[in-house]
Amino acid sequence: MTDYSQTLIDLGYIVASILFIVGIKMLGRPERARRGNLVSALGMLIAIVAVLFECCIDFTWVISGLVIGSLIGLIAARTVKMTSMPQMVALLNGFGGIASFLVGWENYHSQPDSTLFVRVAVLLAVLIGGVAFSGSLVAYGKLAGKISGRPILIGGHRWLTIGILAALMICSALLIYFPPGPLLYVVFVLFMALSLALGVFGVIPIGGADMPVVIALLNSYSGLAACAAGFIILNNVLIVAGSLVGASGLILTGIMCKAMNRSLGNVLFSGFKAVSSTAATTTVQGEPKSITPEDAYYILEAARSVVIVPGYGMAVAQAQHAVRELGEILENNGAEVRYAIHPVAGRMPGHMNVLLAEANVLYEQLAEMDDVNPIMETVDVCIVIGANDVVNPAAREIESSPIYGMPVINADKARTVLILKRSMAAGFAGVENPLFVKENSRMLFGDAKATVQQLVAEFKES
């Protein structure tokens, strides 16, 4: 290959990097987000075409890999339901992680005489990629309901995790200081297994309600793994794109943590504490007032301003279309309808926004927590649909509460609060919610979708 064509390939990488930067910037602005995604996809295409000119001796493997991967990706993206989006994002993220993991393994396998620098990069790609992969798979399992969303604790969990970390350090020291050989290959395989185990044990004790933080963090990891892969093949486009993703994932993680008023360490390790703290929580005094959909209809019929607060329960019941219908009926009835979205409502960052967008709720009706809280006192009815912790007034009032200090939507300040809930069970981590027994609260027990449909039917009958 001549120097001239190598320069062209490098230019291709530079153009791709610029398109990624521009694409990410546009993704942060509502009116340009879609074009931003296309811009970054174009960058990806250019990067792939550029590398095809300098890699690849045997195209049969390359073409079959590209075709199989594209087909799977195409079918998965076309058929996935919007309600399954959190687990889909988790799964795709895991695939990115395992790809970097395998790139690291392949390099170690095929080029055992590599430099010290490359060997360190291989270990980082395997470690971070492995954690991103197995962690994402556990997150996928929790989100898809295949494993329990509650924090799962195994006896001596903390010691097990510390043991894995220590073993990883010993293995990496061996792998860095000694040149590769048959015996060290065994150590390398152990290192890979430990990396995967670390992801599993890191995510499994984290409860479902903290998933937005975990998903954002794993997203960051898969970017950093790609970055490490870039150091293996000494390629700048991987380093630029990978670190952009790593940085954006970390920022999103920070936003999610701030929305819960918790530190990242607290989210990652609080599963250890959750079990002991629930016993200390005081039970809330008072009886919840249960009403029928018919009573609720009379309350809503008279309401002039309504705020709807959706939560994970709405996603589980797949009630978003019924909720939008109710919202439209209330508007036609002369009420002003807004949706108040808490940043960590649901199981991934922005989960509620995606669901309501799918149901064609107007963009202008979606209000963020900080916009809706100041006007809450003027709201006639606040309808809480499958949300619990994000509207818990204990976060403001009860200092001993585990969620004290977390910013919440002040649903209790509305004149009347309608709460749609399956049962009186406490939310994540067993935090009692005094909202349910407040003077102005009315409970509508049952499946969220069925209840909303009953309300819609009441309006249609009259």
Partner: protein
């Protein structure tokens, strides 16, 4: 390419990333995450470099497996993000 230069690029890109996305409206959190997730599929370039150059059969299988996973990540990631953003865009138009 010298190692120092690679690390230089890495540090600059991290800073750029932090500066780039300081404030994101919450309705874009999911698309941003899924869009950057597709970008992390850039490891496909690493997979392509590794594919078909392996020392033996296992090397080739590892490279190809990496390529398949990375391709699913790239293709699936961009399409899913586009699908999501299409819903957001639709609403903006309706209102106007």
């Amino acid at each position: 390419m010298s190692i120092g230069l690679l690390i230089f690029v890495f540090v600059l890109a991290i800073f750029l990333g932090v500066e780039l996305i300081s404030k994101v409206p919450s309705q874009l959190h999911t698309p941003l995450m899924s869009g950057t997730n597709a970008i992390s599929g850039i490891t496909i370039v690493g997979a392509l470099t590794a594919t078909g150059t392996g020392a033996d059969l296992l090397g080739n299988i590892l490279g190809t497996a990496a390529l398949i996973f990375a391709t699913v990540n790239v293709v699936g990631g961009y399409l899913v993000t586009n699908r999501m953003l299409a819903m957001f865009k639709l609403r903006g138009k309706e209102k106007k």
